[in-house]
């Protein structure tokens, strides 16, 4: 089934530990995104990638890093987790990117719930 796979589904993590959230899509979408969802704040963009080999910062990038070595994978890394990074993280993809009108919609993964203690 075509779509986005995120792993892990849920994780409890000690503060100061390193954590990588994985995201893989099989739709050959050029653009990929990481959002965090917090109650009352909606979804906020952390990082994005318009195409393999390029990445950009979103609204709340501090404490996070991403890489885009190929079209399908877009991992999100927390180098040293802090409690304020407790959230639900969504990976998403789209067939559009910067420079083109956002004609295509976002397709989301199922989310990863991360708790930092």
């Amino acid at each position: 089934i075509a779509g986005i796979t995120q792993a892990p589904t849920s994780q409890i993590l000690a503060a100061g530990r390193r954590m990588t959230l994985r995201c893989t899509q099989d739709m050959r979408h050029n653009a990929m995104y990481w959002y965090r969802q917090d109650l009352g704040l909606g979804l906020r963009l952390i990082h994005y990638s318009n195409t393999a080999g390029t990445t950009g910062k979103g609204e709340v990038p501090d404490g996070y890093s991403v890489s885009r070595a190929n079209t399908d994978d877009f991992p999100l890394t927390l180098a040293s987790a802090v409690p304020s990074q407790t959230s639900v993280y969504f990976c998403a993809s789209s067939a559009s990117g910067t420079g083109r009108s956002g004609a295509n919609v976002l397709t989301f993964g199922a989310g990863s719930r991360l708790t930092v203690l």
Binding site: L43, R100, G102, V105, L106
Partner: protein, 112 residues
């Protein structure tokens, strides 16, 4: 900066009745796209409806329709004949140059 505002944190509606969710946004761009996404308790984000800003005709998808007022930068969602399965969080979003910006969401409760 682009912002999306949903001023109704929570709403309730009786089954089979009609409800309207509000959304306003701020952008200096002329070409953009607007979306409503639904998030049921399963946490999955589901596209409800999409509107191109250059189209004056309001988008409709079965029981879901929008009232798009470009000059007022308003994009409300009307749900007709509400069903129990419509209970969810609803997010308004704007797409600009490939980036998608979301509002804080409206929690809709459909009561039997």
């Amino acid at each position: 900066a682009q912002t999306v505002t949903q001023s109704q944190p929570e709403m309730s509606v009786q089954e089979a009745e009609t409800v309207t969710l509000s959304c306003t946004y701020d952008t200096s761009e002329n070409n953009y796209y607007l979306f409503w996404y639904k998030q049921p308790p399963s946490r999955q984000m589901i596209l409800v409806i999409r509107q191109e800003a250059y189209k004056q005709q309001n988008a409709t998808e079965n029981r879901f329709s929008v009232n798009f007022q470009k000059a007022a930068k308003s994009f409300s969602l009307k749900i007709s004949d509400s069903q129990l399965g419509d209970t969810a969080m609803y997010f308004c979003a704007v797409s600009l140059n490939g980036k998608f910006y979301f509002g804080s969401g409206t929690k809709l409760n459909v009561k039997p």
